[in-house]
Amino acid sequence: GIEETLCTMRCTENLDDPSSADVYKPSLGYISTLNSYNLPILSYLRLSALRGSIRNNAMVLPQWNVNANAALYVTNGKAHIQMVNDNGQRVFDQEISSGQLIVVPQGFSVSKRATSDKFEWIEFKTNENAQINTLAGRTSVMTGLPLEVITNGFQISPQEARKVKFSTLETTLTHTSGGPMSYGRPRV
């Protein structure tokens, strides 16, 4: 009885096809995700994947994996990546390039900014429905917080708090003005 079921299960999906992008901004690039919703067999493996391709000076907004660890492998180009652990320490602050692999543990916040014409990567995640939460952007944790929590938490004015909440319209990819993004030793 498994001929009609398991044996017919689709096991392959192409992630290099921008037409099936989940996040797309012409000037910045695209991101596609593969999870148990669009490849059901992943619910058996309890894995998911993400494919990203961004242009120079495009930034993936700082975010964290809510329910998964991730292994990020660079397939093309370069990016400057910063990563912060649960103690608020910057644990990675380098340029990463093609052929390199880095692990992003659950909860660690990470920002990526392309520093070559095109930066492309594949990310494997240890949850069949891996979720992220972003620190900045229209669907970020900061937008979800009341102004009072932000003003009291960071001791900033309501006006500044509104800018923190509402200035960045994008959800995942945004543009940057380029230039150096890290100064000296990470804050410990």
Binding site: W64, G88, L135, A136, T143, P186, V188
Partner: protein, 251 residues
């Protein structure tokens, strides 16, 4: 689990092993390396939030259930991808026009919008998945006391068998003493690890404001004292909930 972790020949009642004091209250942590907690896979904490105290947004690497032992307050959880469904009414000017102000949000004429805020009272039990930032404010006159049990043995915890708080705001000058290698290190919030330039670019804000997000000169801790009104958008209390009348709605 390590082998023999549940070979418990003698059990005893446990007390908190560390107390993290803050401006607006304290957090008491049980040492989850104690044999019976290690066997059960639980990490256990007690939060005592003073009146007008705000426990700043924090998320963990494990799901947890929290029980309100005493007092009442307001609680918010920011669930990834959920909309800001709490929005206050637009600001109208003479002639019915929306108010014009600075900043993109304000130009839309509302003061704020955010995700759901709930009233909590003693007896309430609330579940918080891993990675979901939660904040709690004590709007009562008595201390708000909550206890929470996190299941660090659950596979939703993809890290090691330690409960790791990730601070969105605030900090913990005492550090996470129960974690080896962190005994003497203060814990800072997530923003403090990023270069301010990256924050400024990500939020499209001034560099000074980005540095403010890092709470660098701030030693208030993770539960701060709110000075003045705490005007988050919230529904009226149910009649009879704690015997209070529903809050008067402004017109």
């Amino acid at each position: 689990q390590w082998p023999n972790e549940c070979q418990l020949d003698q059990l005893n009642a446990l007390e908190p092993s560390q107390i993290i004091k803050s401006e607006g209250g304290r957090i008491e942590v049980w040492d989850h390396r104690a044999p019976q907690l290690r066997c059960s896979g639980f990490a256990f904490e007690r939060f005592i939030i003073e009146s007008q105290g705000l426990y700043l947004p924090t998320f963990f690497n494990a799901g947890k259930l929290t029980f309100v032992v005493h007092g009442r307050g307001l609680m918010g959880k920011v669930v990834p991808g959920c909309a800001e469904t709490f929005m206050d009414s637009p600001v109208f000017q003479q002639g019915g026009q929306f108010g014009e102000g600075q900043g993109q949000g304000q130009s839309q004429g509302f003061r704020d919008m955010h995700q759901k805020v709930e009233h909590i009272r003693c007896g309430d039990t609330t579940a918080t998945p891993p990675g979901v930032a939660q904040w709690i404010y004590n709007n009562g006159d008595e201390p708000l006391i909550l206890v929470s049990a996190a299941d660090i043995a659950n596979n939703q915890n993809q890290l090691d068998r330690n409960l790791r708080p990730f601070l969105i705001a605030g900090n913990n000058p005492q550090g996470q003493q129960w974690l080896q290698g962190r005994e003497q290190q203060p814990q800072n919030n997530i923003f403090s690890g990023f270069a301010p330039e990256i924050l400024a670019q990500a939020f499209k804000i001034k560099l000074e404001t980005a540095q403010q997000l890092q709470n660098q000169q701030d030693n208030r801790g993770n539960i701060v004292k709110v000075k003045g009104p705490f005007g988050v958008i919230r529904p009226p209390l149910r009649r009879g909930q704690g015997g209070q009348q529903p809050q008067e709605e402004g017109n």
